[in-house]
Amino acid sequence: MADTADNNTPNMGGGPAADAPAPGNSEHLNIKVTDNNNEVFFKIKRSTKLEKLMSAFCERQGKSVTSVRFLFEGQRVQPTDTPDTLEMQDGDCLEVHQEQVGGGF
């Protein structure tokens, strides 16, 4: 799991992720981003805007930012949000949903 996380966790926020395996109260936290098929782990700073994470995920998945919705516990994640404002903890998970569109059938 850790390997996978390590492998899959890009170093974001400029912080040295490898040499600073931070405890729970550390400055960095790991966030799992998952749609129904894939899970991607990100290690980001608490103060980093999640926009970075979202665009990195979309880029990796080949999706448009406007066509996906990132939800944290059912709440829409705005690009300007940070893990602090969302009160995220290490290991929390962001769900990626498709844009909801409806007309009739």
Partner: protein, 1194 residues
């Protein structure tokens, strides 16, 4: 006065030449009258006007007038006889031809009948076995029927077109010979009469001839159209030409197709040189203005004009010596003066009396029936005879004197070369007539001014000749006019046409009225001669009478001689028509003081008239606007005087072409090359023309006539003036023309045919008269016979026929001899007629009127009585029949009434049933509606919803429309709005996910809108953010609720401020759901303790699994306080979505409705949602339901 004409003339007359041409044929007299023709006329007229000898059986004065124009004098007399008494002396119409075998005419005709004609007709002539029916009785039956039917009964002797005589004559001679010579005879007749219409047409085939017109129709036939044939059309009474029709050739020739007269060269010169100056020549040529006789408003003005009448006769005499055209103009003014009634005065002068006219103010213009309201005019009644006022003998005497004048003028027995009356008196000897010479001299003075002895002889002779011809022409014209005017038959017609004398009476055509005017002028002229000639007062009176009458005819007024005044008292029996001293009607005016303006302006007034204001027309509206003659030149524009030295010329300069005066050289085509090859049709025409010319050339004429051109005899005679006065020359000419032979051969025949035609017309007229009389009697007796149904059962017809036959026997035949019953009897009749004619002298109408022949009168009376008795009997019969028919009709009507009542009753019942049914239906419907309403109210009460105070979806302002429309032009990456959640809305959300009418809404739009709804409600109810009245979740709430359970939604509930302690304070919780690409809305209303799911595709009803989830949510939030029994799921009613794209809009709008507490069904309809899309876009741009989109007032 005039001695008898020399004997040679009399013999000429017996050849059947025309006797009095120009006098009687008023409408179509060419103005050129020759001395030569008048010589003949003189002779003829002298014979006619001589007193009828008691025993002149043969030759009786033959009616040599072939035209259907006015008959000569003696014919008029005969017509007068006819109208005066119903007893008609049947004229001899069947002189047995010389070479005719002595068989009966009908059998002869049958055997000698022309085969071709009968084959064309298809009905071979045979003796009709039917009993001939007497026509007046048939008319009577028809009258009772009251159905107007054509009065053309087929007489027994006309199975074909041709009369017996015609057929006999044709069969007697060779057919070809007959047609050819008849044609020439007719042509000669035309020639003799100076007829303008030319000889009869020669048609190219029998078919054409059948289609053509005229009594005799000629056509060519044979293998190469060499043979001339003639057919007779009995039903065409127009003789063989159209010269009887009232068409004046002068104006036809003058007028162009555009109704304008082409200008002559001299006129062009005149106008170009001397604008405004009119000489006699131009005055003579200018066309008359069209009299507007139909205008009603004319009359009042006329009356006022009459009131302003001034003196005339003095001016007439005073202007005697003026030049011709001036005089003519003044005369035309002057004669009008004498339009009043003349009356003899105490002294030698003449005082006229005229009818007082009402002033213009009393007449309402345009009102036609003022005659009845005019008490003065209502006193007028028709006189018994037209000559009652003038006096029959006085008129006769006057006409005799006119005839004398005509004779004298015709004989040329006037003094020539004299310039004064004294000279004339000095030269008078046995051969000349003094009075006529003086009259002609005065006429010359009238035309050319005083005759001065210094004038060169040729010019003076020319003047005299012109005046002489004019005088002669006018004399003839006046004679003819007087004959026509005082013709009793015409008068009877007028009386028939008008019950009472009308103010406006139009007699004759324009030409006739023109003659009336000229006659009036001439009478004025004659009366002015009283200074030079001894004239009796009777003559003067007659002159003025005729003048007044002619003037009235010209002005289209009632002729004074025709009327008399109906007055009580001493004037009732007056011979005249006006009471002597009845000031209410009459006012005496001295003749010398009369002057009356002309009613119609027939020519352009002379310039000297228009110079003085006094002489201008007083009522210009009546007058034709005096303008430049249109057909001559366009009115010249008024240019400013150009600085050119050349004077302005109104006529356009002719285009100048430089050319040699005589051609220097000219191309002459070679003679062997034809200029143009003739086409076959042209060749055929040429051939036919040649053939016709051949046909016309006969062995008796040495001259050849052209068919297309009328050869005027006068022109011919003028051509060689050497022998024009000699009798020998005339005879020679007649020989050349072949006139003599043909006139001798066919003159009688043509006369007889003409008489036949006249007689038939007369018969028709008589029958019509009788019919009218019977009708009048019926009307007088006021027998109201209803118009009967025509039941033509054989029984009825048989009865009618029997009655008719009975009547035939009853009525004595002398009055109406039927020559068609039996040929023998016919012959006998003819013999009787002959014998009677021999024994009885010919009498004029007047003589017959006062004849003492009691037998004839008794016969007449008895015939009338018998007719009246028959009439009464028939009236009685018809009356009884009508009564019976009335009764029958009444019974029928009652039956019909009963049936109708029954039908009405049934109809009533049916209608009642129908109404009852309708009423019940309406009750049921209203009950259902009431029930529905109650249910709705109950439902609304249950759900706490109400009706909105104003429509939810209103039209946005123009600005917002602009803003929404401008979205498409913004930067696609720049956020346009922010949802309450903080989510940016970019151009894509609006442009692709909201505004297109069929776009599917995405979560951004739905969530943003629903959050805005909740915010608006909370703001409106002043609820703090932590204690909301309306809470809204995002569309991601429900999936989490489903997937994670309600317990794992604590974070979302907290963010929405839904807690256990404030749960019941929240009114509405909105949960948008997106499942399977379909937006729906779940609602929790804690206050009502209800949950609901609104699906727009199901008209607002929800699904149970959604409400179950909501119950789960509620129980999770309330934990222990949740009482499952209290909570229930409800279905809200909402408009139904009927398309595949509007559910998001439905969801938002329903959320708004429920949050507001109004009923969605009554708030909006599905059709408004396209507008709602724009409105939502505007709301999102606006940042919520505030400002222009505030929710206040719902």
């Amino acid at each position: 006065m005039a001695p008898k004409a020399p004997t040679p003339r009399t013999t000429r007359n017996s050849r059947g030449l025309r006797s009095s041409p120009a006098v009687s044929s008023v409408p179509a007299v060419p103005s050129t009258v020759t001395r030569r023709t008048s010589t003949r006329r003189t002779a003829a007229t002298t014979t006619v006007s001589a007193p009828v000898a008691p025993a002149t059986p043969t030759p009786r004065p033959r009616a040599t007038n072939f035209s259907s124009a006015a008959p000569p004098l003696h014919q008029i007399k005969e017509e007068a006889t006819t109208t005066a008494t119903p007893v008609t002396v049947r004229r001899r119409i069947f002189p047995p031809p010389v070479a005719l075998p002595p068989a009966t005419p009908t059998t002869t005709a049958a055997t000698l009948q022309h085969p071709r004609v009968s084959s064309i007709r298809g009905t071979p002539r045979q003796q009709s076995p039917r009993t001939p029916i007497y026509h007046p009785q048939r008319y009577l039956v028809r009258w009772v029927d009251r159905t107007p039917q054509p009065v053309v009964p087929s007489t027994p002797d006309s199975p074909g077109h041709e009369t017996t005589r015609f057929r006999a004559r044709r069969d007697q001679e060779d057919e070809e010979e007959f047609a050819r010579e008849l044609y020439i005879a007719i042509r000669n007749d035309h020639l003799m009469r100076d007829c303008w219409c030319g000889p009869p047409i020669i048609y190219n085939s029998l078919e054409e001839a059948e289609e053509g017109g005229g009594h005799f129709r000629f056509y060519t036939t044979g293998p190469d159209s060499k043979n001339l044939r003639v057919i007779q059309k009995k039903d065409d009474s127009r003789w063989h030409c159209i010269c009887g029709q009232k068409v004046h050739p002068v104006y036809n020739d003058l007028l162009n197709s555009n109704g304008k007269r082409p200008a002559t060269d001299s006129e062009l010169d005149l106008i170009a040189q001397n604008e405004g100056l009119q000489t006699a020549q131009s005055v003579e040529k200018v066309l008359p203005a069209k009299p507007q006789q139909e205008q009603i408003g004319v009359q009042p003005q006329l009356r006022s004009m009459w009131d302003r009448a001034r003196g005339l006769a003095s001016s007439l005499v005073a202007t005697m010596s003026s030049p011709f055209h001036n005089i003519l103009g003044k005369i035309r003014d002057a004669y009008e003066a004498v339009e009043t009634r003349s009356w003899s005065a105490q002294d030698d002068t003449i005082v006229v009396k005229r009818v007082k006219r009402q002033t213009q103010q009393k007449i309402i213009p345009g009102e036609q029936s003022h005659d009845e309201n005019d008490p003065e005019f209502a006193k007028l009644a028709w006189a018994a005879v037209p000559t009652k006022r003038i006096g029959y003998f006085k008129l006769k005497e006057f006409k005799n004197s006119l005839n004398d004048q005509i004779a004298i003028v015709g004989a040329g027995r006037i003094v020539s070369g004299a310039s004064t009356i004294e000279e004339i008196k000095a030269q008078i000897d046995a051969g000349y007539d003094e009075a006529t010479s003086i009259a002609v001299l005065k006429y010359q003075e009238l035309m050319f001014g005083p005759v001065s002895p210094q004038l060169p002889e040729p010019e003076r002779a020319e003047q005299l000749l012109t005046a002489f011809y004019k005088f002669q022409h006018t004399l003839h014209q006046a004679h003819g006019f007087i004959n026509q005017l005082y013709n009793p038959a015409h008068f009877e017609d007028i009386k028939k046409a008008h019950n009472t004398p009308p103010r406006k009476l139009v007699l004759g055509d324009y030409v006739f009225r023109k003659h009336a005017r000229e006659t009036a002028e001439f009478m004025c002229f004659l009366s002015s001669l009283k200074e030079f000639l001894p004239m009796s007062r009777d003559t003067l009176e007659t002159l003025s009478n005729i003048c007044v009458d002619a003037n009235a005819v010209h002005k289209q007024e009632t002729v004074p001689s025709f009327v008399e005044i109906r007055t009580e008292g001493p004037y009732a029996d007056m011979p005249g028509y006006f009471p002597e001293d009845d000031d209410a009607v009459m006012e005496p005016v001295h003749l010398e003081d009369m002057r009356i303006e002309p009613f119609y302006e027939f020519r352009y007034p002379s310039p000297e008239l228009s110079d003085s204001d006094e002489d201008l027309p007083k009522n210009p509206g009546l007058y034709r606007k005096i303008a430049k003659p249109k057909g001559i030149l366009k009115p010249s524009k008024k240019w400013d005087a150009p600085p050119s030295p050349k004077p302005y010329c109104p006529t356009p300069q002719k285009k100048r072409i430089l050319a040699f005066e005589s051609p220097v050289s000219r191309f002459i085509p070679p003679s062997h090359i034809p200029a143009r090859v003739m086409t076959p049709s042209e060749a055929e025409q040429l051939l036919q023309a040649e053939r016709k010319a051949k046909i016309l050339r006969d062995k008796y004429s040495t001259r050849i006539f052209e068919t297309s051109k009328t050869v005027s005899r006068s022109n011919l005679l003028f051509a060689d003036s050497d022998n024009q006065w000699s009798l020998d020359g005339l005879e020679k000419e007649d020989e050349e023309l072949g006139l003599k032979y043909h006139s001798q051969k066919y003159g009688d025949f043509l006369n007889d045919v003409k008489e036949d035609l006249d007689e038939r017309e007369e018969n028709k007229k008589r029958k019509k008269d009788e019919l009218d009389k019977r009708e009048a009697v019926l009307k007088r007796d006021k027998v109201l016979i209803p118009a009967p149904r025509r039941l033509r059962t054989p029984e009825r017809k048989r009865r009618e026929l029997a009655r008719v036959a009975e009547l035939n026997d009853t009525i004595a035949s002398p009055a109406h001899p039927s020559p068609y019953t039996n040929p023998f009897r016919q012959q006998k009749d003819a013999e009787q007629q002959e014998s009677r004619k021999e024994t009885k002298p010919k009498m004029s109408a007047f003589d017959r009127l006062f004849d003492d022949d009691e037998v004839e009168r008794m016969l007449m009376i008895s015939t009338q009585k018998v007719q009246e008795l028959e009439l009464n009997k028939q009236i009685e019969d018809e009356f009884q029949a009508a009564l019976k028919r009335d009764a029958e009709e009444k019974r029928q009507r009652e039956l019909e009434e009963a049936a109708r009542a029954e039908r009405r009753r049934l109809e009533e019942e049916r209608r009642n049933r129908e109404e009852e049914r309708k009423r019940r239906e309406a009750e049921a419907r209203s009950r259902r509606e009431e029930q529905l309403r109650k249910q709705t109210e109950e439902f609304l009460a249950l759900t706490g919803l109400r009706r909105p105070n104003r429509p939810l979806i209103e039209e946005m302002s123009h600005d917002w429309h602009e803003k929404v429309a401008n979205i498409s032009m913004t930067n696609p990456t720049v956020p346009l709005a922010k949802t309450p959640e903080g989510q940016d809305l970019i151009r894509r959300d609006f442009e692709e996910m909201l505004l297109p009418p069929t776009a599917w809404l995405n979560d951004n739009i739905i969530i943003g809108s629903i959050l805005h709804v909740a915010d608006a409600i909370n703001t409106y109810k002043n609820a703090p953010a932590t204690e909301p009245k309306c809470a809204a979740f995002t569309s991601f709430f429900y999936p989490r609720l489903v997937s994670h359970g309600a317990k794992n939604c604590a974070r979302l509930l907290r963010r929405a401020n839904v807690r256990k302690n404030n749960f019941y304070d929240i009114e509405t919780i909105l949960v948008p759901i997106c499942e399977h690409s379909h937006w729906t809305l779940a609602i929790v209303r804690p206050g009502q303790k209800t949950v609901a799911h609104i699906d727009s595709l199901r008209s607002g009803r929800g699904r149970k699994e959604v409400t179950d989830k909501m119950f789960e949510l509620v129980s999770t939030v309330l934990e222990d306080d949740y009482n499952e029994q209290e909570w229930r799921a409800v279905d809200y009613m909402a408009p139904r979505q009927d398309n595949g794209w509007d559910c998001g809009v439905f969801t938002i709008t329903n959320a708004l409705c429920i949050a507001l507490g109004v009923d969605p069904n009554q708030s909006y309809s599905a059709g408004q949602l396209t507008e709602q899309r724009r409105r939502l876009a505007a709301v999102l741009l606006n940042g919520g339901f505030k400002g222009d989109f505030g929710i206040e007032g719902y």
